[in-house]
C-alpha cells in the first residue's frame, strides 16, 4: 500500500508542467537518436549529460535532469524500430532483432502494421517492466541496506564477471577493457591516503582525475561516430510508408494477434535487463528466439511475422527498465546507458544505492512515476509523429555528424571549462575507434570508470577490516555466494574451452 501511495505521489510530481515538458522533450530526442542509425540511447544520454546542469539549475533538484535522461533512454527504445523497419538498418543495436521480421513486413507493403505493432509492443513491454520494477525495487533496496563493504565489492566483481562470462566478446580484450577503465578511474588524488597517483608526465590536468564524461563522450560521441561514418550506409532505400489515423486505428485493432510475442518479450526482457552486461540487445534477441521457438508457425519468422516484431520490441523496452533496477537499488549499472545515468546522479550530488529509497524518496518516486508517464508519451508521440521521424531519417549524415562532433566538444567544455579535458576526450574517441577495429569492447571500460571510484574504497576498507585477508569475501553469508558466482562466471569461458577440447 505504501508503494502505491509513494508511486501516486511520485506521479503527481512527475506531472508537474516542467517535469512533464522534460519527459516530452526527452522522449522526442530519444526517438530521434534511437531512429538514427549509428546513434543509440547511450550516445544521446552521454552527449546531453553536460546540458542537464542547466536543468538542475532551473529546477533545483536532481529529479528533473534524471527524468529528461530516462525519457531519452525510453524514447530511443521506441525509435530504434523506425529505421529497422523502414530502412532495414537497426537504429540502435537494441533493434537488430526487429529488422528480422519488421523489414520483410515493410517490403511486403505492411510497414504501417510493423510500426504500429512495434510501438504498442514497446508500450506494453515498458509498462509491464515498470510494474515489476515498482514491486521489486523497494524490496531489493531494503535487502541491500544490510550490505557492508565486502558485499558491495562482491557485487561489483559480479558485474564485471558477467561481462567476462556472458559478454560474448573476446575474453582477454574484455578483461583488458575492464581493468583499463578501473585504472583510468584511479588517476588523480587517492581519496583514502590523499596521495597523487598516475599523474602522467606531471601534467597538472591529470591531477583532477579522468572524468567519466570525458571518456563516455569520447567513446560514444567521437569514436562511434567515426565508426558509423566509415560503415557503408549508402546502399539503403527507404520503404515508402503512408500512415493515417485510419491505418493506425486498423492496426491497433489487429494488435492482439501479437500477444504471445509481447508477453514473452515483456517478461524475459525485464529479467535479462537486470543482468549486468546483458541489457536490451541480448534481451531482444533472446525474446525473438523464444518467441520463434514457442510459435505455432515458426517457419513464418524471418518472413514478416508480427510476433517477430512484438517480441524484440517489447523486450528492449522491458530490458531498459530492468537495467535501472540494479542501478537504482544497488548502485550498479546494468548497461552503458545506465552507467551514464549513474554517473549523472553522482554529478548531481546523489549517492546511488539502497539508501536512495530511504533518504531520497523525493528523487526516487517522481522518477519511477516518470517512467510510466514517459512510456505513455512515447507511445503517443511515436504513433502521431512517425511521418516526421521518417522525414528526419532522410537528413544526410554529413549534416548530422558535424553537429554531433560540435555538440560533443562544446558539451565537454561546458561541463568542465578547460581545454585539457576536451583534448583528452577527442584523443579517447580516436583511440576508441582504432581499438574497436580490432574488436576491443569499450562498454566495459565506460562502466568501469563509473564503478572504479566506488569499488576501490570498498575493497580497501574490506581488506583493512580483515587485516589483508581475502577470505572476508568468501566467509560472509551474502558476500560469499556472490563472490563464488563471480569467480565461476570468470572461469566459465575457460571451462567451456577445456570442455570442448576434452570432447574432441
Amino acid at each position: 500500500m505504501d508503494i502505491l501511495v509513494s508511486l501516486a505521489d511520485g506521479m503527481l510530481q512527475a506531472l508537474q508542467p516542467f517535469n512533464l515538458g522534460l519527459a516530452f522533450l526527452g522522449v522526442v530526442v530519444g526517438l530521434f537518436v534511437g531512429a538514427m542509425p549509428g546513434l543509440g540511447s547511450v550516445n544521446g544520454v552521454a552527449i546531453l549529460l553536460p546540458f542537464t546542469f542547466v536543468i538542475q539549475d532551473i529546477s533545483g533538484s536532481a529529479t528533473s535532469p534524471m527524468i529528461f535522461l530516462a525519457a531519452i533512454y525510453y524514447g530511443a527504445m521506441y525509435g530504434g524500430a523506425i529505421s529497422s523497419i523502414t530502412l532495414g538498418i537497426p537504429g540502435a543495436s537494441t533493434a537488430v532483432a526487429t529488422t528480422f521480421d519488421g523489414r520483410p513486413l515493410a517490403l511486403a507493403g505492411k510497414a504501417d502494421k510493423a510500426l504500429v505493432t512495434a510501438a504498442i509492443a514497446s508500450f506494453i513491454g515498458g509498462t509491464v517492466a515498470n510494474l515489476l520494477f515498482t514491486g521489486f525495487a523497494p524490496a531489493l533496496a531494503s535487502i541491500a541496506l544490510d550490505f557492508g563493504n565486502p558485499e558491495v565489492f562482491a557485487l561489483m566483481l559480479l558485474a564485471f564477471a558477467t561481462f567476462v562470462g556472458l559478454g560474448g566478446d573476446d575474453i582477454p580484450k574484455t578483461i583488458f577493457s575492464i581493468c583499463f577503465g578501473l585504472v583510468l578511474a584511479t588517476v588523480g588524488f587517492d581519496i583514502i591516503s590523499g596521495e597523487p597517483r598516475l599523474i602522467f608526465f606531471e601534467i597538472t590536468g591529470f591531477s583532477h582525475g579522468i572524468r567519466f564524461l570525458v571518456l563516455a563522450i569520447g567513446v560514444y560521441g567521437i569514436g562511434e561516430m567515426l565508426w558509423t561514418i566509415n560503415a557503408a550506409k549508402d546502399n539503403t532505400a527507404m520503404t515508402e510508408t503512408k500512415m493515417s489515423p485510419k491505418t493506425i486505428l486498423r492496426e491497433i485493432r489487429a494488435f492482439p494477434a501479437a500477444w504471445k510475442g509481447t508477453a514473452i518479450g515483456s517478461t524475459l526482457g525485464f529479467f535479462v535487463g537486470i543482468l549486468p552486461a546483458a541489457g536490451a540487445t541480448p534481451g531482444s534477441l533472446m525474446a525473438y528466439g523464444v518467441a520463434k521457438m514457442v510459435s505455432r508457425r515458426p517457419e513464418r519468422f524471418g518472413k514478416g511475422e508480427v510476433d517477430g516484431v512484438a517480441a524484440p520490441e517489447s523486450a528492449n523496452n522491458a530490458a531498459s527498465t530492468g537495467a535501472m533496477l540494479p542501478m537504482m537499488t544497488l548502485g550498479i549499472p546494468g548497461s552503458p546507458t545506465t552507467a551514464v545515468l549513474l554517473a549523472g546522479m553522482v554529478i548531481w550530488g546523489l549517492q546511488p544505492g539502497p539508501l536512495l529509497f530511504t533518504e531520497q524518496p523525493d528523487f526516487v518516486w517522481p522518477l519511477i512515476g516518470s517512467f510510466y508517464i514517459s512510456n505513455v508519451i512515447a507511445l503517443v508521440v511515436n504513433l502521431a509523429f512517425i511521418p516526421v521521424f521518417l522525414w528526419m531519417l532522410r537528413m544526410p549524415f554529413t549534416i548530422l555528424a558535424p553537429l554531433i562532433f560540435v555538440l560533443s566538444i562544446v558539451g565537454t567544455y561546458a561541463a568542465y571549462q578547460n581545454m585539457f579535458d576536451v583534448w583528452l576526450m577527442v584523443l579517447f574517441g580516436l583511440g576508441a575507434y582504432l581499438l574497436r577495429v580490432l574488436d576491443y569492447p569499450l562498454a566495459p571500460a565506460v562502466l568501469a570508470v563509473v564503478l572504479g571510484p566506488i569499488a576501490e574504497p570498498k575493497l580497501r576498507q574490506s581488506l583493512l577490516l580483515s587485516d589483508g585477508d581475502f577470505s572476508i569475501f568468501f566467509t560472509r553469508p551474502i558476500a560469499g555466494p556472490i563472490t563464488v558466482i563471480a569467480i565461476i562466471l570468470i572461469l566459465l569461458p575457460l571451462a567451456k574451452l577445456l570442455w570442448s577440447k576434452a570432447r574432441r
Partner: protein
C-alpha cells in the same frame, strides 16, 4: 589486420608495464618513499595507494599476453584476417574527419569556439558533404549564433573566444 593485432597487443602490454611502474610511485613530497612500497598492505592503513592500480595493470599485462597467445594460435577474427587494419576508405576518413577534429581543437586556442565552429562547418558541409553554399552558410552561421545565446547568454558559461574576443565585447554589452 593480423599484424595490427599483435602490434596493438604489444603496445598495450607496454602501456600496462608503464602503469605498473607509475602505480608504484610514492608521493613527491616524501623523498624517502620507496617505489612499490605502496602496492601491498601498509601496517594499520590497509592496502596502499598503488595497490589497486598496480594489480589491475598486471591483469592488463596478462590479458595482453593472452591476446598475443590467441594471435599466435590464430584464434581471433583479426588474427585470421588478411584484410588491412584500415582500408583506404577508413584511412581517408580518419585523416579527413579525425584530422579536422584535431584542427578544430587547435583553432579554438586561436580564434575561439565560435570562429572554429564556422571553419569546421564550412569544411565539413561544403568539402566533405558537398552541400550547397546557401545550406552550408545557413548552418555555419545558425549553430554558432544559437550556441552563443545558449551558452554565453542563457547559461553564463563563457566559451573561449581566442583572438576574436574584442568582436564579442559589443555583444556582451547588449546581452550580459
Amino acid at each position: 589486420m593480423r599484424r595490427a593485432e599483435i602490434v596493438t597487443a604489444v603496445l598495450l602490454g607496454l602501456l600496462s608495464i608503464y602503469l605498473m611502474w607509475k602505480s608504484g610511485e610514492g608521493p613527491s613530497w616524501d623523498p624517502d618513499s620507496v617505489r612499490f612500497a605502496n602496492i601491498g598492505m601498509i601496517e594499520g592503513e590497509g592496502p596502499g595507494s598503488g595497490f589497486w592500480p598496480f594489480w589491475l595493470s598486471l591483469i592488463m599485462l596478462i590479458s595482453c599476453l593472452w591476446t598475443g597467445f590467441n594471435w599466435w594460435r590464430g584464434k581471433t577474427p583479426p588474427s585470421q584476417s588478411d584484410q588491412p587494419y584500415l582500408s583506404q576508405h577508413a584511412k581517408r576518413m580518419l585523416l579527413r574527419v579525425g584530422g579536422s577534429l584535431i584542427v578544430f581543437l587547435a583553432l579554438i586556442h586561436v580564434i575561439g569556439v565560435y570562429g572554429a565552429m564556422v571553419v569546421f562547418f564550412v569544411y565539413y558541409l561544403r568539402f566533405l558533404g558537398h552541400h550547397s553554399i546557401p545550406r552550408t552558410v545557413a548552418i555555419a552561421v545558425a549553430v554558432p549564433v544559437f550556441s552563443f545565446f545558449f551558452f554565453d547568454v542563457a547559461m553564463r558559461i563563457v566559451l573561449p573566444k581566442g583572438y576574436l574576443e574584442p568582436l564579442f565585447i559589443p555583444l556582451y554589452d547588449i546581452f550580459l
